[in-house]
């Protein structure tokens, strides 16, 4: 069953929990050092972008959009990789990386519409939709670390059928409500 992630931009408040939850889940750099670094860096498998605020006719337009790898069905990164280091997991459709094959050429980054591939300290990092947590009985079905941590419930991960149903329900709810905040 294909798995996917859905970001509800109307709900995200830009608290950035997802970013740190992901770093913790995947033990990502940077590590604490002594003395601390003023500008530590590391890969971020989910990034959050702030759009706005723009103010038109007294209306504020502003939203926050977390962007991980979207695990495209027809993934350009897989096609672009000269070493076939990127591949699809058969069961879930999640795009994964074979670190032994990756040469760090960054073609995948050039072709990715979302800037998802991350390069740090000579290796490539990519969101794996927390594939290791699939089937684990924790967090009441919220599978990924980012989904579990999100206090705004702006991140949803599931099969494409599940996400389709969720978006449909949201649309129906909106239709029945005059004003949504």
């Amino acid at each position: 069953m294909n798995r996917t992630i859905f970001i509800d931009k109307d709900k995200c408040v830009g608290c950035y929990s997802c970013i740190v939850a992901c770093k913790l889940e995947h033990s990502l750099p940077p590590e604490p050092v002594k003395p601390p670094l003023g500008n530590p860096t590391g890969p971020n498998l989910i990034r959050v972008y702030q759009v706005g605020p723009q103010i038109h006719d007294d209306e504020v337009h502003q939203y926050f959009l977390p962007i991980p790898c979207l695990h495209c069905l027809d993934a350009p990164c897989i096609k672009a990789c000269p070493r076939s280091a990127l591949y699809k997991d058969n069961d879930t459709g999640i795009t994964l990386i074979d670190e032994d094959k990756c040469i760090g050429c960054k073609f995948c980054l050039w072709v990715c519409p979302y800037g998802a591939p991350q390069f740090y300290d000579g290796r490539m990092y990519l969101c794996d939709l927390c594939i290791h947590r699939i089937g684990e009985e924790r967090q009441k079905g919220r599978q990924t670390a980012c989904e579990a941590a999100c206090p705004a419930r702006a991140i949803h991960v599931g099969t494409t059928a599940e996400i389709s149903a969720l978006i449909g329900e949201k649309a129906a709810e909106r239709a029945g409500k005059e004003k949504s905040i």
Binding site: V13, P29, E31, P32, G42, A148, P151
Partner: protein, 710 residues
């Protein structure tokens, strides 16, 4: 060999805290933390809480008790035993009490972290009234106003236990969505927001929820009291108030009606810079689209009129009947333990008044009498100080209090300073004795930051590094040396004692995870029952919500709310405004930091390495400032630099700088406070709030200009 693996339930304390946590421990080391889905916070956690993982194994932690060698701030330390450290601190306190009286000792902590009750109990047990906390500008005003006006503490009812969620929500000078501040949790708020019909945002900036709000009232910093009074004017004059509640359950309505006549919407629009039609619209929504609740931010407290600002807002809640009804503002019934702060309050308060009590009578009123820190620093600075010894437990005055230069002069004049902390902060660098504190993942305690419907078990997950001790143990061991009758054989005994009314032990509590009064156990409309008063009523002098405050009247303050122009503004100090033309708020906050904490945590610092000052595009353009430029921000107290964010959601005449910055990587002892800490700019001069002594952080005047040559 099978790894020794366990998942331990605990409670986060990375901000005021309260999120349920599951911590995985393998072979004695934490390998993972995440939210506990079976807690009131439903498995969610924030960036700060999750990054705690990097605090437990952070090599910058203080590991051992140390005493100063060489001069203060020279950075030379000698490792000593806990025995020697405690004997020294206790000896200095004892000596000072003997020579100068108990009031010569100040027991200080920073923002509330759930060990408040130990700080207060410790101070009372040694007989000093001088509890030094940032209460005058953070939460103290709310406590004082809720207490005097409604006889309790109001929280927003986000939970739906009474069958209704708030229909109208006001977020006033607060960003609960990226914090878990002051007894509320972001996840509760955001969940209830999905069920609300109106969101009114009152803030000088288009903060994160501005895009979702029906109405954004872009208030001029420091003028919120005028806005609240203007809304009261509309509600009362249009007859939109809750007649039943006003008639039966409030005191002084006619006097309030008279007072608010001074604040017609047109005049309030001039004061606040909010168009009158928006003020009228907001007032009508709050009064007619019920139930509603108002989330009050600390911003409203950090100014010269904190008490009357909050009084006006509580009056808004009262006249609209948004108190104690489901979906409005509620005084929570505590869990079966009773309010845990009784642990502090049961120790008799000293008769000697706290420093500042002669002036700021609400700050120093029982039961939570506190000292006025700005006066303490002033006395120390001027060399005629009552305070000789200061114990600083988890507080960083060199970053947290206004006018850093003068705070430092004062602090250095204290005869003896002891400090307990996780890291060598700019303040700890000047201590005489340093005590290593344990992180919440290394401590056993009961989480009860703000007395509310729930307490949580903070369960030690791993041993602290080196010889660090939990805050409660530090207080208990110091207490045993100074006032043994009030302290305990060990921490477990102390925790058992605090849980006794619920008939559970600490061990049993850790198995439960939390204790709460939720759902049907949480009653509403308690003023119609015998809960506070036989036959009904609120726990106030008149038994009613006091729109006209008998307490304020008795203390010699105006019993009715009023507006006061900020100490510095284009209107109150037009001459100063010629040189310093912009209104400055130092209220900027980041989702990655809690006050002065976490700049040494890489997962957080990576996200935001430097402080940000928000400037309107027109203003930035006229000053040649581009997004990402370092800019100087200057006030009569000093200048600092921060990174410009060119931000359309702010008035061109207002700039908002971020608070509480220091750079752990910069050389000690000051670690870069002069470079970027916003309190270099803030003012500690009178006039303070007359009743609370609040200093001004949110409505100052400044100039800004680009940093050249960097």
């Amino acid at each position: 060999m099978q790894p020794d693996k366990a998942v331990i339930t605990t409670t986060c304390k990375s901000c005021h805290g309260g999120c349920g946590v599951l911590a995985t421990v393998e072979n004695g080391k934490i390998t993972h933390i995440e939210g506990n889905p079976d807690s009131s916070t439903r498995g969610t956690m924030c960036a700060k809480g999750l990054a705690s993982f990097q605090e437990v194994y952070n090599p910058n932690r203080i590991l051992y008790p140390m005493k100063r060698k060489g001069d203060r701030g020279e950075g030379k330390w000698e490792r000593i035993s806990w025995e020697e450290a405690l004997e020294t601190v206790a000896g200095k306190i004892k000596g000072s009490i003997k020579k100068y009286g108990a009031g010569s000792v100040a027991i200080c902590q920073g923002t509330g972290r759930g060990y408040n009750r130990y700080t207060f109990r410790f101070a009372r047990s040694i007989g000093t009234p001088n509890i030094g906390v940032p209460a005058d500008f953070c939460y103290g005003p709310r406590l004082a106003v809720f207490g005097t006006t409604v006889g309790g503490r109001l929280y927003c009812d986000y939970h739906g236990w009474g069958g209704e969620y708030p229909k109208t929500q006001i977020s006033w000078g607060k960003q609960l969505e990226i914090t878990n501040a002051d007894g509320e949790m972001a996840v509760w708020f955001l969940n209830s927001l999905d069920k609300a019909e109106h969101l009114i945002l009152i803030d000088p900036r288009a903060t994160r929820l501005a895009g979702r709000a029906d109405l954004w009232l872009q208030v001029r910093p420091g003028t919120d009291a005028a806005l609240a009074l203007g809304m009261l004017n509309v509600i009362i004059n249009e007859g939109l108030y809750d007649r039943d509640f006003v008639q039966n359950w409030t005191y002084g309505f006619e006097k309030l009606r008279e007072r608010v006549q001074e604040y017609p919407p047109a005049k309030v629009a001039e004061i606040t810079w909010i168009p009158a039609d928006k003020i009228i619209k907001a007032a009508r929504i709050l009064a007619t689209e019920k139930p509603g609740c108002i989330q009050i931010g600390e911003s409203l407290e950090a100014g010269n009129n904190s008490i009357q600002t909050l009084r006006a807002i509580v009056c808004l809640m009262a006249v609209t009947g948004n108190i104690e009804r489901p979906g409005s503002m509620i005084n929570w019934v505590p869990p079966d333990t009773g309010p845990l702060e009784e642990f502090a309050m049961e120790v008799p308060a000293p008769e000697e008044p706290a420093i500042g009590a002669d002036q700021f009578k609400l700050l120093s009123s029982p039961p939570m009498a506190m000292a006025h820190m700005h006066t303490i620093f002033k006395q120390l600075r001027e060399g005629a100080s009552q305070i000789r010894v200061m114990h600083l437990q988890g507080t960083n005055p060199l970053v947290a209090y206004p006018n850093t230069k003068e705070v430092k002069e004062g602090l250095l004049n204290a005869e003896f300073l002891s400090a307990a902390d996780l890291y060598m902060s700019p303040t700890v660098e000047y201590a005489d004795i340093v005590l290593p504190a344990a992180h919440w993942l290394e401590s056993d305690d009961i989480h009860d930051m703000h007395p509310r419907f729930i307490i949580g078990a903070i369960h030690k997950v791993v041993d602290p590094p080196g010889e660090a001790w939990p805050d409660n143990k530090i207080y208990n061991e110091l207490g045993k040396r100074l006032a043994p009758e009030y302290w305990f054989d060990n921490v477990e005994e102390m925790l058992n004692y605090q849980l006794r009314k619920a008939n559970i032990t600490w061990k049993e509590f850790t198995g439960m995870g939390f204790l709460a009064k939720m759902g049907k156990e949480q009653p509403y409309y308690k003023y119609k029952t015998d809960y506070w008063q036989k036959g009904g009523g609120f726990a106030t002098n008149t038994g009613k919500v006091e729109l006209y405050s008998t307490v304020m009247e008795k203390l010699g303050y105006d019993p009715l709310p009023y507006y006061l122009e900020p100490n510095e503004s284009p209107y109150s100090t037009p001459e100063l405004a010629k040189e310093y033309p912009f209104i400055l708020s130092t209220g900027g906050r980041s989702p990655y930091y809690f006050h002065s904490q976490y700049r040494q945590v890489p997962w957080l610092r990576e996200r935001q390495p430097y402080p940000i000052v928000q400037i309107h595009p027109e203003t930035a353009g006229s000053l040649g400032i581009k997004n990402g430029d370092w800019v100087w921000i200057e006030t009569p107290r000093g200048k600092i630099k921060q990174v410009a964010e060119v931000f359309a959601g702010i008035d061109p005449g207002v700039v908002v700088a971020q608070a509480s910055w220091w750079y752990p990587e910069d050389p000690g002892p000051d670690h870069g406070i002069w470079k970027s800490s916003a309190n270099v700019l803030t003012r500690n001069d009178p006039p303070f709030d007359p009743a609370m002594g609040s200093a001004t952080f949110r409505a100052l005047l400044c100039k800004i200009y680009k940093v050249e040559d960097e």
